[in-house]
């Protein structure tokens, strides 16, 4: 029998391995597709790996619509490559399918399409709408007396959408303690730094003012993410939010903190360099 700390150590190691795999998939997919969004996919890779491989999402890949499943909503739908990679790693479809991203006829659309991809909960891509859908699912869970949890991942720029705050208000009004919002706080959007374009800060205090229990986390420290997600899942009587500090483009040196890599595919030498950096243990 492993002791608790030993079990955790094995878990962390497993999540880290998956996170590395996610990053490689993302770069390969976007590179092959010739378009897509690497920056925000890489910043959310550790969060997704922790959710999908840290025991936070009870799912049945062979039965994607299993009624008791936990729900994950990628509200920042442009990070679809990260979601698809996690779903493939979790066994919802073959990893070979990943390289069809954005191709004509592919089940992997440029932005998540729940009618086409097993494991995708809702269709997103138009920012600001995921949290409202999460509120609906969590509300249904309460109405039906089900034990599932709903996790919603938002971008920090996305928090400029008024609809996010309409949803935040509703979630606390209905005391949805089966709902957790995670903000991928990478400080960048397309045109510039979020603080420069239109500051949504202080995001943590805003959620808290709307009646949420708020946690802050280092979005690239797996142990920290595991701890915080566990705490968030035990909050009672109100929804919880995790503001995860991240680096856009995390894992590929030349993409880190560069707004240019929000929605651009690496080509030729860039692609090779990125994959080389992501191979093996090079990743910090």
């Amino acid at each position: 029998m492993l002791s608790e700390p030993q079990k955790d150590e094995a878990l962390i190691c497993e999540i880290e391995t998956r996170a590395r795999a996610l990053r490689r998939h993302i770069i390969e997919m976007v590179g092959k597709a010739g378009s897509g969004h690497p920056g925000g996919s890489l910043s959310s890779s550790d969060i997704l790996a922790t959710l999908y491989f840290g025991g936070f999402l009870r799912l049945k890949p062979e039965d994607p619509l299993w009624p008791e499943r936990d729900r994950f909503i990628l509200s920042k739908g442009h990070a679809a490559p990260a979601l698809y990679a996690a779903l493939a790693e979790r066994g919802f479809f073959g990893k070979d399918v990943l390289l069809t991203l954005r191709e004509f006829g592919s089940i992997l659309q440029g932005h998540p399409d729940c009618r086409k991809t097993p494991g995708v909960e809702v269709s997103t891509g138009s920012l600001g709408q995921g949290l409202s859908m999460g509120v609906g699912m969590a509300l249904a869970g309460k109405l039906d007396g089900k034990g599932y949890r709903v996790w919603v991942l938002l971008g920090d720029g996305e928090c400029q959408e008024g609809q996010v705050w309409e949803a935040a208000m509703a979630a606390s009004h209905y005391r949805l303690d089966n709902l957790t919002a995670i903000v991928d706080h990478n400080h960048l959007q397309i045109d510039s730094r979020i603080e420069e374009v239109m500051s949504p800060e202080p995001i943590a205090q805003k959620f808290s003012a709307f009646g949420w229990e708020v946690f802050e986390a280092n979005g690239h420290d797996i142990q920290n993410l595991v701890n915080v997600f566990r705490k968030a899942a035990t909050v009672r009587g109100k929804p919880s939010a995790v503001i995860a500090d991240t680096v856009k483009g995390r894992g590929v040196s030349f993409m880190e903190n560069q707004k240019e890599w929000h929605g651009k595919a690496p080509k030729g030498e860039e692609l090779e360099r990125a994959l080389k950096e992501l191979s093996g243990d090079h990743l910090r």
């Binding site: 954005r102 440029g110 932005h111 891509g125 138009s126 397309i190 045109d191």
Partner: protein
């Protein structure tokens, strides 16, 4: 080859220089809508409101009420879908002078897929009372349309595209809100209309076999379709109806009176766009068989622009096929 959104970016700077009342708003897509050019030239008259389209339309309404002339840009799906109610209530109902210029219309957005491909934007905007709706076919027409939008006092929706497109119109082509253009054969709008008022054509043998009524990036394939059918001995007319609302009803009826079949061509749902507008006008004024080339009650999907246009039949071949089908019945 130049994308209509690039032409918009350029003309906006030119107009901004002449008219200090012009202000520009964007929702974190200035690098895609090309309002970044204006932002660079006139930073004090540019407002990046962040990813908050609904809020952007409200701010534009307030600016217009205060005498500014706001040009508001984002992707067509978000401009017309996300902020529909704000456009309707805050801008159109009070008839505020706001120009909504949206990029990334239609399927040719490509790999981003259905969530980013506006196929109902024209239908939505056309339904709003008083809204002018323009879908230019190339860079030249875009610039002329933006100038016309500025001259017009009231809300205007202009739909632009992402992809580079060939120039279709001659450099001296004019654009007027509510006027169509005959591109083929070489005939002036006014001449066709006056010939009809003289009771021509007198014999059905003088009718065009097919008249193509097109907008946006479908104007070029409509011209190609006319050429292909011409080689088979069919006579065709091609008209550019960039001004979808108000529609050039006078020209449209004259075209119908001169043709055995009308085929509409648009990069939009056949529900509510140019095809619908043409059917409505002809049904009331001069019923003629009309076939609509466009997207048929479906969403788009990922793929390259060309793959998608091929798959949905928005090509010269697709238009020819539709025309042949129609001709076999009239």
């Amino acid at each position: 080859m130049i994308a209509t959104r690039d032409a918009y970016g350029e003309i906006l700077v030119e107009l901004g220089r002449e008219n200090p009342n012009i202000v520009v708003l964007d929702a974190d897509l200035s690098s895609s809508t090309k309002t970044e050019k204006f932002a660079k030239a006139f930073p004090e008259r540019f407002f990046n409101v962040g990813i908050a389209e609904a809020n952007m339309m409200g701010i534009a309404a307030g600016l217009a009420r205060s005498g500014k002339i706001p040009f508001v840009s984002t992707f067509a799906v978000f401009a017309t879908g996300r902020a529909y109610d704000q456009i309707r209530q805050s801008i159109a109902y009070p008839r505020f002078n706001v120009k909504i210029v949206a990029s990334h219309g239609g399927l040719s957005v490509g790999p981003d897929g259905a969530s980013h491909q506006a196929l109902e934007d024209v239908a939505l905007m056309r339904a709003i009372p008083g809204m002018v709706v323009i879908v230019p076919c190339d860079a030249h027409e875009t610039k002329e349309a933006i100038k016309a939008a500025l001259r017009h006092d009231g809300p205007v929706y202009v739909r632009l595209g992402r992809e580079k497109v060939p120039s279709v119109l001659p450099d001296d082509a004019t654009f007027e809100i509510g006027k169509g253009l005959i591109l083929w054969p070489d005939k002036r709008r006014e001449d066709l209309i006056s010939s009809v008022s003289r009771g021509e054509p007198k014999e059905s043998a003088h009718l065009f076999d097919v008249a193509f009524v097109a907008s946006g990036i479908m104007v070029k394939p409509a011209l190609d379709a006319a050429r292909i059918l011409g080689q088979e001995g069919k006579t065709c007319l091609v008209a550019d109806f960039a001004s979808i609302k108000p529609l050039d009803e006078e020209l449209l009826v004259a075209i119908a009176k001169n043709s055995r079949l009308v085929v509409t061509c648009e990069e939009h749902s056949i529900i509510g766009g140019l095809g619908s507008a043409v059917c409505e006008t002809l049904a009331e004024n001069y019923p003629r068989p009309v076939l609509r080339v466009g997207v048929r009650d479906e969403f788009g999907q990922s793929g390259s622009a060309q793959e998608l246009l091929d798959a949905y039949g928005l090509t010269a071949e697709g238009i020819v096929e539709t025309a042949r089908k129609g001709l076999s019945k009239v």
